[in-house]
């Protein structure tokens, strides 16, 4: 009987739930806080990633002073290539790009050769050619009489040309209301591709 009682007490104790201290008060629990966002990043480092890369113009429209004693004449061209690097430098290349226009029924041509290196900045709407840092670019001028002259494009540290632009996917447009310049570009795989 004693043995049975002892056994019973032992088993009853073993069969009871283990005790735990009372639960903590939930209100004291820390909750996540909204940490201030890091940054901002130095804007000098930030360039529009759409603009970065290499491009080729497919349609450009210029208003060019061809004759010294005449007004601006519209020209069209395509095939110039641009590279915009993330460090704010870039290069424009022309390998025989032909600009065509007409004056009094005669065809006018301008043929570009060479490279123009520049610096640039941009935000999401404007593209600024800050300076022409180096150039071996030249333009040859032709009309119905033939070759008129070839003129170099010199480096211009103070160039500061501000254009509007749009960039979406593989296409870009650039325009300047003041100079009536308009262009459409397509992306090439020469630079900036992953």
């Amino acid at each position: 009987m004693l043995a049975a009682t002892t056994l019973t007490v032992f088993v009853v104790l073993d069969d009871a739930p283990e005790s735990s201290a009372p639960a903590a008060v939930a209100a004291s629990r820390p909750s996540p806080t909204t940490a201030p966002p890091p940054g901002p990043r130095n804007p000098v480092e930030l360039k529009p990633i759409c603009l970065i890369g290499s491009w080729r113009t497919v349609d450009e429209r210029f208003m060019i002073k061809f004759y010294t004693d005449q007004g601006l004449i519209p020209f069209v061209a395509s095939g110039r290539t641009f590279t915009f690097r993330p460090d704010g430098t870039g290069v424009m290349s022309e390998d025989g790009v032909v600009y065509t226009g007409s004056f009094r029924g005669n065809q006018l041509r301008i043929v570009g050769h060479g490279n123009l290196e520049f610096t640039w900045t941009a935000d999401d709407k404007t593209l600024t050619y800050v300076s022409y840092t180096r150039s071996d670019l030249s333009f040859a001028y032709f009309d119905q009489r033939g070759h008129l002259s070839t003129q170099p494009v010199n480096a211009d540290p103070q160039h500061n040309e501000v254009d509007n632009y749009t960039c979406e996917g593989n296409r870009m447009t650039e325009s300047n209301p003041a100079t009536q310049y308009q262009s459409a570009w397509v992306r090439t795989a020469d630079f900036g591709m992953y």
Binding site: D15, P17, S19, S20, P38, R41, Y194
Partner: protein
């Protein structure tokens, strides 16, 4: 008369013990019990990454002015009630296989949006090789915020210890919570063929919703592997994004490993889990006490009793769990089921045991009393009989031995029904 009293006493006790228990809610499979044991310790982890990606070749910085802000989900496994949560380190590690990879993916998506990606895989590979994820200043650390979700409660977490994803893929987080439901870690390697469950929260933050539920997939250990001297298990259960860090448990609900990653080029049936041995190394390295608490053991006892049909006992143990951990959702759920099946508060085993004990005692007492009366009656008869010269041998003493004392009285033993409580059998723990 005394013999009848004794008989009635013993019979009453026997009848009490013979009352059939309610039909037990047996688990439909070993997996059901394993899931019930382990799921309370499975938590949703949200990791928010904020930073920029810089290509070291060109200096190009991706992320714009605000930087990238990406939140990913993983799964965690509570391994200590004191707020320690194990997960896969690639969920929280800042390196190229962790948070940096998340930001690289964001940059690759950004680049693809603007037409600068020819092949997404190549883009990610190039970024992984040439880029760095960083904070607002070059080479500064990215911002990382980890939150662990326990039902409606969301707790901030810090990294207590971590090994790189390619060095074992284990991290242990610390959250400012206690009495969390924790799961046991299996100390020995699980043999190939061991049935397992892989538990985790699949999908994205958006898919998780307000009340995310973990998914439980069954399978088995397919192979034991080693990567750079770190043990992994290949397992056949399905696993997908978001389940990383979730437990792979055996049929006792013990952690065998943590879901790590899929096998490249293989189907979903070839997933890898970091072996529990690596987790134990990480835990020991920081002297973290990865042991279950009393409420975990009570929860297990409550489950065992529930599945054994001891609903009163189940309610009792689960009440103890809820007293210590009121937010233990599974304990509340199983308690509700136990109550629906007839379990009630305060009618658990202890009272039943006392009643049985008293009944048995009364039975024994009555039996003994009856025997004593019979013996006195017999002695009275003997005193009036003619006796041989040397008298009759005395019958055996009732109170001195376990043997039967009379041939005409009801058989009475001094060891009545075992008043110990009917402990329900535990489910077979073997895999």
């Amino acid at each position: 008369m005394a013999a009848r009293i004794a008989t009635l006493g013993v019979t009453a006790a026997a009848l009490l013990l013979a009352v059939p228990p309610p039909v037990a809610a047996q688990p439909s499979s070993p997996e059901e019990l394993a899931a019930a044991v382990a799921r309370p310790a499975v938590v949703l982890i949200q990791v928010s990454w904020r930073g920029w990606v810089r290509d070291r070749r060109t200096g190009e910085v991706f992320g714009g002015n605000p930087g990238y802000h990406v939140t990913v989900t993983c799964t965690g496994t509570v391994i200590s009630p004191d707020g320690y949560v194990a997960t896969a380190s690639h969920c929280v590690h800042t390196g190229a296989m962790g948070g940096s990879a998340v930001l690289f993916d964001a940059a690759a998506t950004d680049l693809a949006r603007v037409g600068r990606v020819t092949d997404p895989a190549r883009a990610r590979a190039l970024l992984a090789e040439h880029a760095v994820a960083e904070g607002a200043k070059a080479d500064s650390a990215v911002d990382r915020q980890i939150q662990v979700r326990f039902g409606d409660d969301i707790a901030p977490a810090t990294v207590a210890n971590v090994v790189a994803p390619d060095q074992g893929d284990v991290a242990v987080l610390k959250v400012p919570r206690d009495r969390l439901p924790a799961v046991a870690i299996r100390p020995d390697p699980a043999p190939v063929g061991t049935p397992i469950l892989a538990i985790g929260y699949p999908g994205s933050v958006e898919e998780a919703g307000d009340r995310p539920e973990p998914s439980t997939k069954n399978g088995q250990i397919s192979a034991q592997r080693t990567h750079d001297e770190h043990p992994f298990y290949e397992f056949s259960a399905a696993a997908t994004h978001g389940m990383s860090g979730g437990p792979v448990v055996d049929m006792q609900g013990r952690v065998v490993g943590l879901i790590s990653r899929g096998t490249p080029g293989e189907t979903q049936s070839f997933n890898l889990a970091t072996a529990a041995a690596t987790l134990l190394d990480v835990v020991r390295d920081k002297e973290i006490n990865a042991e279950q608490g009393a409420h975990d053991r009570n929860y297990r006892s409550g489950l065992d009793r529930y599945y054994a049909g001891d609903y009163d006992g189940s309610v009792e143990f689960l009440d103890a769990v809820l007293a210590a951990a009121p937010e233990h959702e599974q304990a509340a759920a199983y308690r509700k089921l136990a109550v629906e099946r007839g379990g009630s508060v305060g009618s658990g085993n202890p009272l039943l045991l006392v009643f049985l004990f008293l009944s048995a005692g009364i039975g024994l007492l009555a039996g003994g009393l009856g025997l004593a009366v019979l013996r006195l009656h017999r002695r009275a008869l003997l005193s009036t009989m003619d006796t041989p010269p040397f008298g009759f041998p005395l019958p055996a003493q009732v109170s001195e031995g376990p043997t039967e004392v009379t041939s005409d009285a009801p058989t009475v033993r001094n060891s009545g029904p075992d008043p110990a409580p009917p402990v329900p059998p535990r489910p077979d723990p073997s895999p």
